[in-house]
């Protein structure tokens, strides 16, 4: 960051994914987030940065933590936050996404936080509204705020990304978190290794720059960061793996396997965790785990993003 001309930083109207960001922009967001983290830990959690700004969360998929994280981020910065519950709104009556978006726009909304089961839905919304759209997860495409909070967590603990080996294990096929993390971490100079049964690896994912490990062992060896991903039990119905028992035996991470990585490894997980499936309880609660810190870092990163995107995606000096 030092020596960088911050006045040149421009993020655009929307944050649709990590794909659109470069390393400098990511680093900039992380730096703002570190200031926000100080605020979160101060006795009086209130800043005026979003005064007069309205933030709407529009979630087409269930979520507790991401939605709550965004709402509190807005409130800690004195913004007006409201949420639209899709199941009880006009959406349930068959309103199109574009029509819903235009309605929200006309209510004087500055930022729409959106989660949707369809890849590309935030782009469709962004193309049709004046408000800024922040993607809070779209199908199997991207979950940029999760990747940014993960990057923040790694940066805080390791001080740099260059030369780091990051292992991601779990259902990578269906994971927007994995994709956004691959984009972010490879841009920042880390090397990302993927471990999963072949059925849970997306086609030609190696063209992103990530490495498909030949075994879990290989992915874990010398890893500085190990990231577990949630395994949904329902996936066994579509023949992706036999059952949770077999998955946990061959691909789950326990204390012994984590030890392959080395002493100062960080254990991460985007949550919610299936204890005993992708990770065992003793490591979730163990000394390598930063899973709880990730939650607080998520709040800091989302405050940073709201700060940036309520200023038209342009840098201004923090007062």
């Amino acid at each position: 960051m030092k020596g960088m001309d911050l006045k040149q930083m421009h993020f655009g109207k929307d944050l649709l994914g990590i794909k659109q960001l470069n390393a400098e922009q990511i680093q900039y967001i992380l730096n703002i987030a570190s200031g926000m983290k100080v605020l979160i830990n101060s006795p009086n959690k209130k800043s005026p940065h979003l005064q007069g700004k309205t933030i709407i969360t529009l979630f087409y998929e269930n979520s507790t933590r991401t939605r709550m994280s965004f709402e509190l981020a807005a409130k800690y910065m004195s913004g007006t936050a409201a949420n639209i519950s899709v199941s009880s709104s006009s959406v349930a009556k068959g309103e199109t996404l574009v029509d819903t978006g235009k309605t929200i726009d006309m209510l004087g909304t500055d930022v729409i936080i959106m989660r949707h089961s369809c890849a590309g839905a935030p782009k469709l919304l962004a193309d049709n509204v004046n408000a800024s759209v922040l993607n809070a997860g779209d199908g199997m495409n991207e979950h940029p705020t999760q990747a940014l909070l993960d990057a923040y967590t790694i940066y805080e603990k390791k001080g740099s990304f260059r030369g780091l080996k990051v292992a991601i294990a779990g259902d990578i096929y269906h994971s927007r978190v994995a994709r956004s993390n691959i984009y972010a971490l490879t841009k920042l100079g880390a090397s990302v290794h993927l471990a999963a049964p072949r059925t849970l690896i997306p086609p030609r994912i190696e063209e992103t720059g990530a490495v498909i490990a030949s075994s879990l062992q290989e992915a874990l060896e010398g890893a500085d960061v190990v990231m577990g991903l949630r395994i949904q039990k329902e996936r066994q119905k579509s023949a992706l793996f036999p059952d949770i028992r077999e998955y946990a035996r061959f691909y789950g991470i326990d204390r012994e396997r984590l030890a392959i990585a080395g002493d100062d490894v960080l254990l991460m997980h985007p949550g919610p965790v299936n204890r005993g499936t992708e990770l065992t309880s003793n490591i979730i609660d163990g000394e390598s785990s930063v899973i709880n810190e990730q939650v607080q870092n998520g709040l800091a990163v989302r405050m940073a993003l709201l700060y940036i995107y309520t200023r038209g995606g342009r840098y201004e000096d923090v007062d």
Binding site: T96, V98, C118, L124, G139, N141, E142, P203
Partner: protein, 425 residues
């Protein structure tokens, strides 16, 4: 009524015609074909233009009955005429589906009443397009059906497919097979590859098409019944069909302009107008389709004209309808991507878009020959136009060619001696 088409360059490979001649049309038929004709009620100046047998589309969706908000026989045939087509064969996935003679008759009668080009209905292979019981192919043939197909809902049960092929052959109805392993393709909305991974969309692998192509080729070889494979899009499909043809299997196939002019990259940015089934494939597939057109593996170019309402495209990519409104770009796209770069000559293109598909449907009107029906298309091959869907006569404005410059435009379309479209708008 005597009409004279004067001074055009006539191209008809089926009759070995290539040169500047005049055509005299009398009472809907070509009466004379010679240099320097005169004496007519009206004269069409075709100098500097190309005159060829009317284009025939063997695979389109006119959407009537049932989906008139997307397209109807009137608007669809107007668009077809604007695209240079003098006859089109429409797929049976309407509401109700075309699985009995009453619906066939409805389409035939409606086309006679409001249509501007000839309309040949294609009936279902199975009742309700459900893939279990045979549709009444005999009755449908009597009412005017030219082929059978469960387009869009391929017959999964191989035993039913075999029987549909054998039974249809008794009535001389061509079986047109939309090849897709529905389980392998399930949930997919674009080609499977790096781009689908990058966009986070579930992909449809090329194998989903090729497995079904292979099955139908094997069935055709075993039963001896001809089969026509609809809209092939992959290198593997072309290879399977090429090898089968070499062995003497009675398999024919078509492709569509979008498979040799565009790739999956058109989907980038979640462009729903590039969402089509089978999906746009890779550059390697595009090249392989061109090669298969050149070497005769591919018999015909069809539009798969699939008009949709804008509300069905202005939605999340996964929810968007599959299909491209293709009548009004087909000839220009084929000319631009096949003839202009020198892959094939104009004569071959006319074979692919007129003579071959008409022959496959048993509806070849005779080409540019004295005594043949005057189904004639005149094109201006010099002008370059930018595709503007707002100008389409089709109700469906869903085109991935929007804003793209294409060479070669339709100047005039004549059906049975009547001018059904005249360009220069």
């Amino acid at each position: 009524m005597k009409t004279l088409i004067k001074g055009g360059r006539l191209v008809d490979p089926s009759n070995g015609v290539d040169g500047i001649f005049d055509i005299l049309v009398v009472d809907g038929k070509i009466s004379k074909l010679a240099a320097d004709l005169s004496a007519a009620d009206r004269t069409i100046d075709a100098s500097g233009k190309y005159v060829f047998p009317g284009l025939v589309d063997m695979h389109c969706h006119l959407r009537e009955p049932g989906y008139e908000y997307k397209e109807d026989i009137e608007s669809g045939t107007k668009a077809a005429a604007a695209g240079g087509f003098t006859a089109v064969a429409c797929m049976p996935n309407t509401i109700p589906v075309v699985d009995n003679d009453a619906v066939v008759k409805y389409i035939v009668d409606k086309a006679k009443a409001v249509g501007t080009v000839k309309v040949y209905p294609i009936g279902c292979m199975t009742k309700g397009q459900e893939g279990s019981q045979l549709a009444e192919m005999g009755f449908m043939k009597e009412a005017g059906a030219v082929a059978v197909s469960d387009d869009g809902r391929p017959v999964e049960n191989t035993d039913v497919m075999r029987k549909a092929m054998e039974y249809s052959s008794d009535f001389g109805l061509l079986v047109i097979s939309h090849c897709e392993d529905m389980k392998l393709a399930s949930g997919g909305s674009m080609n499977e590859g790096f781009l689908s991974t990058s966009l986070g969309l579930k992909g449809i692998p090329a194998a989903a098409e090729e497995i079904q192509v292979a099955r139908d080729v094997i069935l055709s070889e075993y039963t001896g019944v001809p089969v026509h494979i609809a809209h092939i899009s992959t290198e593997g499909s072309a290879r399977i069909i090429r090898e089968a043809k070499k062995r003497g299997v009675k398999v024919t196939c078509e492709t569509c302009p979008h498979y040799f002019s565009l790739t999956e990259n058109a989907v980038e940015g979640f462009n729903t107008n590039a969402k089509v089934n089978p999906p746009l494939r890779t550059e390697g597939d595009r090249q392989a389709i061109i090669k298969a057109i050149k070497d005769g593996t591919i018999d015909a170019i069809a539009t798969d004209h699939a008009p949709h309402h804008r509300d069905e495209k202005n939605v999340e990519f996964q929810y968007a309808a599959n299909g491209i409104s293709g009548f009004e770009t087909a000839f220009s796209a084929a000319y631009t991507y096949l003839v202009e770069p020198g892959h094939i000559d104009l004569g071959k293109l006319i074979k692919l878009m007129s003579i071959e598909p008409a022959g496959l449907l048993g509806k070849y009107p005779g080409g540019l020959e004295e005594g043949a029906a005057a189904d004639i298309t005149i094109a201006d091959l010099e002008t370059e136009t930018t595709v503007r869907s707002a100008d389409f006569l089709s109700k469906g404005k869903n085109t991935p060619f929007e804003g793209i410059k294409l060479k070669g435009s339709i100047f005039l379309t004549m059906v049975d001696g009547e001018i059904r479209f005249q360009g220069g708008r």
